[in-house]
Symmetry: C2
Subunit: 135 residues, 2 copies
Amino acid sequence: MPLKVRKNRSQVLPPVCPLAECMKLLGGAWTPNVVWHLSGGARRFSELRVDIPGVSAKVLTERLRVLEAKGVLSRAVMPTSPPSVEYALTPLGAELVPVIEAIVKVGERLKRRAMHLEAAPELSPRRGAGGARAR
Amino acid sequence: MPLKVRKNRSQVLPPVCPLAECMKLLGGAWTPNVVWHLSGGARRFSELRVDIPGVSAKVLTERLRVLEAKGVLSRAVMPTSPPSVEYALTPLGAELVPVIEAIVKVGERLKRRAMHLEAAPELSPRRGAGGARAR
DNA sequence: CGGGATCCTTTTTGATACTG
DNA sequence: CAGTATCAAAAAGGATCCCG
């Protein structure tokens, strides 16, 4: 292996587009939580507010609107008194759930790791350059 | 099905924490792209700038620092002239890749769907009000 | 080459208060 | 209950210049 040719990645990896597209979807700080809490079934506005501690009505509304516009969830107004509105994932939204689950799984692992790092800060070996960690 | 009892979701679904934790990780608009473009192997700073069109040096630096601090990627300074720095996913960072791939996959699907909606705006049936099962 | 330091603009969030 | 309106605060992103 005489020379490690550094390939132009765009020949083997798709361009940035699909990622950017999808992150606009899950981009909002609360968006994944909304999807997550709808993954178990339909849920009403006020229930979501309780499910997701710390979210304001405004932000929640906003996220729900965006997600509805993207076809990720559906909004059903029940003509009752007092009014109630049910949100539920569409089939398309349901496809996001595995993604969320994967995220959660990794998130937990990272959390555990962070705890380890706290205990032993210099465990992670610096790659490369014979220990050339400037900085 | 006499009565659909609305359970307290936190008994069956984990609390918000892991999701929030992990989204701080993938939260930045560019972060997933960075991980994605490192998924094929180590990459230098300037290469990443080319890989990810539109990213500024500042933002890229910032994202890389954050990801390094979280243990997602490693930073190796090569003591050459001119200096070069290689970034690579850590084993932990590699675990994120399936997540990214899932995101990309869904992103593409959403894109296709968006195109369909453009063509036929009133295809999506509004739930509720007609089949509105009052509670 | 690989950034750090600044400054500035655009988005996102948050806190209240009010309404049908 | 399920929002809307409004304002203030904060974060993210971008542009530019400079340095080792």
